[in-house]
Symmetry: D2
């Protein structure tokens, strides 16, 4: 209920605040026998780490993961896998000025309304730092999916008005530019746009796209726990996401049935395939055997150093300038988070599917 638990079979529970002792997660339900070590997880955490470019916060977190349980002689035991990342670079003094003020675009007012008070240091539980735990768990889900021949890949599709050109799409390029765009030209343009925003003390949003290859047909439960519904929840649970699409997404609203339906045909190897993929790999809530495609729209970072109108806890109008250390765009760092939430969702439904038939 309290909402820090995700999944049913492959179930994770996360904990930790941006300025507490650390961030952690426990996975209750990873099948036994999966080879696993910290080396499998650390690269994912490194991808979301701050301080890696001018477009990300200057905070320095080593973000070293420690596996605390559930792995014995290099393999998962079937019992809970606990992992923890200690917080190291906490500067609580940065946050004193927001203690009694509700930052626009942030969860501050909601926390006070819900709990009566809040941990005001760096957003506490609603900090982007919370995603560290998702990434640690998601890395394990990715390893599990890999065992079943499934690969999840995300990248930045656009920042502001600057979107990648499908003709220049090169996934290898994603890891070469600080914006994690699979299009070097677009990355340069978007970078210039961000530079201008930084000067203007402003921030940008963008779109992350994610694909999953190798998902067999039939994954997802037909009514409420549809694969797309579960993915939507997973992705929308990432702070700052305001929109979600599967396949052609909102474009389908303007299409005709004859355009949007994907014809089936028998492939050379005798399997069933589709000659198009408007569905984004999901029909009736179950995977249809083709590539799963989803997109998430991220809002611009709400922490900007421009002056903004707001109110304080005493019920007075006031202004705020949020200085601290904030990303002018969080979209590039969110790429691995989207991958991980997608992997967690598919892993859970893949395991659930073991009970579908006699």
């Amino acid at each position: 209920m309290a909402g820090s638990t995700f999944g049913t079979v492959f179930r994770v529970m996360t904990w930790g605040e941006s300025h507490g002792k650390g961030i952690g997660v426990t996975i209750d339900g990873c099948p036994a026998g999966l080879p696993l070590s910290e080396e499998d997880i650390q690269p994912y955490l490194n991808r979301r780490k701050p301080g890696q470019s001018r477009y990300t916060t200057a905070r320095q977190e080593s973000d070293l993961v420690e596996i605390l349980s559930g792995v014995f002689e290099g393999k998962t035991t079937g019992t809970p896998i606990a992992m923890m990342v200690r917080n190291t670079d906490q500067r609580s003094r940065d946050y004193g000025n927001i203690m009694n003020v509700y930052r626009p675009g942030h969860a501050d007012f909601g926390f006070d309304s819900k709990y009566g008070f809040r941990d005001y240091r760096g957003g506490g539980r609603s900090s982007g730092r919370e995603t560290t735990a998702r990434v640690a768990a998601g890395a394990v889900a990715c390893k599990l999916l890999e065992h079943f021949g499934i690969k999840v890949t995300a990248y930045v599709k656009s920042i502001g008005e600057f979107g990648i050109d499908p003709e220049r799409f090169d996934i290898a390029e994603r890891d070469r530019n600080p914006l994690n765009m699979p299009d070097a030209v677009c990355a340069v343009e978007a970078g210039e746009y961000l530079a201008r925003l930084i000067e203007q003390q402003d921030s940008a949003g963008g779109v992350v796209e994610c694909v999953a290859d190798g998902v067999p047909a039939g994954i997802g439960e037909p009514v409420f726990d549809k694969l797309d519904a579960c993915l939507a929840k997973a992705i929308m649970s990432i702070g700052a996401v305001k929109g979600f699409e599967i396949g052609d997404g909102f474009a389908v609203a303007k299409m005709r049935g004859s355009e949007n339906n994907d014809p089936f045909r028998i492939a050379e190897d005798g399997s069933v395939e589709k000659t198009s993929n408007h569905s984004g790999g999901i029909l009736g809530g179950m995977s249809d055997g083709s590539q799963i495609v989803l997109r998430a729209a991220f809002k611009p970072t709400p922490s900007i150093s421009r002056q903004q109108n707001t109110v304080n806890r005493s019920g007075e109008n006031t202004e705020i300038e949020i200085h601290g250390r904030h990303d002018p765009v969080i979209v590039p760092r969110a790429v691995v988070v989207v991958e991980c939430m997608t992997a967690l969702t598919i892993a859970d439904l893949l395991l659930q599917n073991r009970c579908a038939k006699l």
Copy 2:
């Protein structure tokens, strides 16, 4: 796990196939003391009933709901509320020709992949008829929300390229035209478009928008069970939905932080309010006290009578023409389903919130 259960505190489990004995739902967790009778529920079912205009299937279902338990002397008892709608107009003969063929855009292939076989009569469990149960449960959720001063309202925002004009917005008009659009002019234009599609044996998609008024601040759980995440799952679990937005949705990806942040201010009555609502009433996964706004993109009805390429269960390429009785657009009938799924989600999180504080 099997995915016909929704919600945690206000938990519903649905059952039934389009061509079985009926459709039903049990609500386990409605608080005791709520006045409730079939008269509260039937109007919602009537809104989704087929056969009401030229744009909906000619099937005739009386869709009369029967409350089987959980209500005593006109009030809910706190124990499970079971409800059932008997199926009446089933013509199984209509579906013989699709028994061994996978309809493009449908769940047929997924069902066979998942379970090894399927109830091929009218889509079985993946039929739109399944939403009857959601609406019956959702009507109870709406009654509960009403008790707390919360009202959920949905309407058709667009069909194909035809979108409502905000200047002509009139919610009363929604119930006067068969397309459930709150704009009479747009409804006429969209109606002409649909008439052309019917001639062309084709179908249309569209967008439903839904607002919730009166939701207090702080509803929703901060991490995985964010209010927007739960709404996304609820709405994406409706068959044919391919996209979901909260507030400004995908538009935020192109906005700047200074535009997208909603300033807070103290209202005349001393409460906290916002001077804009780009957030769609949700910040950090919790309601912020303003109107909740969401949108769902529906794909065009996949059942079209045009000839389509597909395959059969024997692994052969073939063609299909789906005659039967199908809506050229399902969007108008989906309005009440979106309302109901929204109400179910808010009701559940509203009750969960009772445990947030000492």
Copy 3:
């Protein structure tokens, strides 16, 4: 939360009151492909039906089950199986006198405390009639277990001071006497005891024992969802059960480790077996491959026609005589309920176990 849901993978939700329209259950999570019809379920319901002997209530309920969904062409489809038994013999007038009085030994006071009021007709939701739904669902679980070579068998072990003699144990005898005791001699003695109690307007309790054969080793989850813990919850959730034992139960508290430990040995077929079964087939919360043995202690029927001291809703001391139609002992009719709850538990954990390993 509201507590009418049982199980995780093989999940059931029940509904219905003793004097409402009927009793029902939905199973969300029965694997597809299991042959199933009403003929599989009705015999279980017949075993718990009232009116079959002088020791059971004279109420006449035909208790005919109707499968409403989830079965197609004689097999389960993997989607929810809804079942319903209509109530037929309801005499609400019998209960008018208890409307404002709390019956000793009953849930009346708890219901009022919890919900503010209650359905006072025949106990409403806390009536023994609620177990009809458990039995319908349990019959499906038994069918599923049968597919996996597992058989669950319960019987009356004792009534009052009269316990069966292990030397006379004959399971076939269980179905020949109205007390469902696998010992004809004991059944006669216990029957005479009950006849005396009926004369004295009093009632008796007893013990039901249940065994499960064919459960493979490793079923049950090691920490909180131990097989014995889940069985305990299942059995203690039957009204009137006040004690639960696995294997030697309370006797182990007086044993020494050297007596209580069951030695392992290699069987002729090379499998691992135990040379004794003090553990009752469960070690460390997981099945150990031997026969699972459990016992439940039932209290005497609280509804007795003797005068008892109690209070009413107005806060006054008063007396009550409960006439109506009540079993002087419910233990024989509870046998099939214990079997069914045991089967539901094992079925659920058996399916869960599919996710234990890669």
Copy 4:
């Protein structure tokens, strides 16, 4: 599913093995605003710590708890409370000889059957050390219950044949003798019995009794999640428990209705009370406002240094002598575990009850 999660609203997930890096637990769902520090938790852990008497294992664990999240300025924030106890005294060499042998009375064979292999160091996940996490979480539940005026108290009722005398009952005495018996005389007798068993390389079982005072009427859900059913699951999930009773427990099977029913009467303050408490404070699965009384039967410690017959992983008969460091009786150390599991259960259902009424 994987069974290391307990509770619905007050939900805990535990992790850790006896010979891993530590033991931990996360509580997702503790209401905000509860004063909490490590000083509230440590005394509970100290009560279960080994090495405190000749009757407990000589292992030395400091068992210092660290709160990692969820507490800010001395109060719970409503977000997850993570806690950890580092393992310090691990001697893996002690366990090499049991690597390939199944210890009688232990979970070894079950683990191998379930997962294909196991962490053989000290029982891994099925070690009694796992209860450290339960106690840490339970201490928080106790603090929460205290806020609502509820107190849970457990003690050793018997060891072997030596049971406490109700006439000598003195709860203060419980903390003065190493057997945690509220009867000094009985503690001496039981101690002598244990001394003889130690000489004989044998072990003893016993019974723990637990009472909860101050639980208001109406807690517990009427059907499957009855208060007694949930308590049964909680207590039976403690390793070594083989029997569970509420109130008069198994004795009710021999009682008559007229003896077993507890009459209600109006107390001087106008409240409803009972003149006896055979029910153990629970009727129809809900608390009835009187003292809750439960008992758990613990089997003798299975690790004994006598030679025992068993088998190894290669399918051969063999013998085993388990030397290591083991408690000749675990019952005294289990007292606080029973208290904590009882508190966790009541806390969860108490919170759930907030949603019972409008």
